[in-house]
């Protein structure tokens, strides 16, 4: 509705050379209107991007959980081998690995704060 008065030169007013600042002002307004439109469009097309990062988040969570249990098991097994305390080290560290796995999952899901925060 304002485009005719904004964008196009008004035919009722004769354009002169001294009208340059007025024309630049109109140009600025028109450019701003278009860039605002573009940012609004960009905001509308953000959704596919967040879908892709959601998929990557889902892939992260599973491996984070399993990896911590594996590390817990390996650490416990190593302690058992060194100290001859089989099977207690593995039992304790598997449980700790399980806890670390839950911690990893919660952290990668953004439900827990980062260490040291």
């Amino acid at each position: 509705m304002t485009q005719s008065s904004d964008g196009k030169p008004d035919p009722t007013q004769p354009e002169t050379e001294g009208d340059l600042s007025g024309r630049r002002e109109r140009l600025d307004r028109e450019l701003k209107r278009r860039s605002d439109l573009k940012t609004a469009e960009d905001a509308g097309t953000r959704n596919p991007r967040s879908d892709a990062s959601g998929l990557s988040l889902a892939m992260r969570v599973g491996s984070e959980f399993v990896a911590a249990i594996i590390v817990g098991g390996i650490v416990g097994w190593g302690i058992d081998r060194l100290a001859g305390s089989s099977p207690w080290g593995m039992m304790v560290f598997l449980m700790l690995g399980f806890a670390a796995g839950v911690l990893n999952v919660m952290r990668s899901a953004g439900l827990m704060k980062k260490p040291g925060d």
Partner: protein, 248 residues
């Protein structure tokens, strides 16, 4: 026939030059090819250096800006010191994944040893940078604030296990995604030939279903190839951020 339909056959390591433990294998060839493609692309793209970028130059600028934004978002301005490292990792994984999508090629990142080497290089970088910048203070990473003293040993043990599990989840994720994707693709495509060999014209007709699935999964695999390179990169940035700021 057996080799043509064997879904694991594509991951076989074949020595090309020489033999024994230090032979030049197909895996090494494709790693070299990846580096050559990246170097050639970036040199070609930046040779013109025009103010208004051409196609290749804008592609190169796009990849630079993408990685730079990822680094700055996750690791801050200070993390830009590690930009060359992160950019190399991203381009290597992305290009090797994309080369692996060409039929009859070899996918480097479908071998755990390759992704584990990449993840361990990140892990060692984090350890070295962390201890070099903060000394013993880097160990604050494992000690959260506001924890009662009597459960602190338990929490520290859990944090240490969580930290040690990083390179495993980091490498297994990339490896498992590429391996599973390529096996799925091969199995589905194998159905088509097996059906037509077994049932003739009727089999060929039924084969349309797995063929359509294979086409759809090929598209998904291109997404996964990019996504896994991105996930690897963003996790690298997060880990480097831990090394730079262990306990805010």
């Amino acid at each position: 026939m057996a080799a043509a339909n064997d879904p694991i056959h594509q991951f076989q390591i074949v020595p090309l030059i020489g033999d024994g433990p230090i032979a030049f294998t197909n895996s090494a060839f494709y790693m070299g090819l990846t580096v050559a493609v990246i170097t050639g692309f970036l040199m070609l793209a930046t040779s013109a250096r025009t103010l208004v970028p051409g196609r290749f130059q804008s592609l190169a600028e796009l990849s630079y800006e993408f990685v730079a934004k990822t680094v700055q978002d996750s690791a801050g301005k200070e993390g830009m010191k590690f930009f060359p490292f992160v950019f190399s990792l991203f381009m290597f994984i992305l290009v090797s994944n994309l080369i692996g999508m060409i039929p009859y090629t070899f996918t480097v990142s479908s071998h755990l040893i390759v992704t584990a080497a990449l993840a361990l290089s990140v892990f060692v970088t984090v350890l070295v940078v962390g201890f070099a910048k903060h000394g013993v203070g880097f160990l604050r990473l494992f000690v959260p604030h506001g924890i009662p003293i009597f459960i602190l040993p338990l929490v520290v043990a859990i944090e240490v296990i969580s930290f040690l599990s990083r390179p495993i989840s980091h490498s297994v994720r990339l490896f498992a995604n590429m391996l599973a994707g390529h096996i799925t693709l091969k199995v589905l495509a194998g159905f088509v030939t097996m059906l037509s060999a077994g049932l003739g014209a009727l089999g060929l007709l039924i084969g349309i279903i797995p063929l359509a699935l294979a086409v759809a999964i090929t598209a998904l695999e291109f997404l996964v190839a990019f996504l896994q390179a991105y996930v690897f990169t963003i996790l690298t940035c997060i880990y480097i951020n831990d090394a730079l700021h262990p306990g805010h």
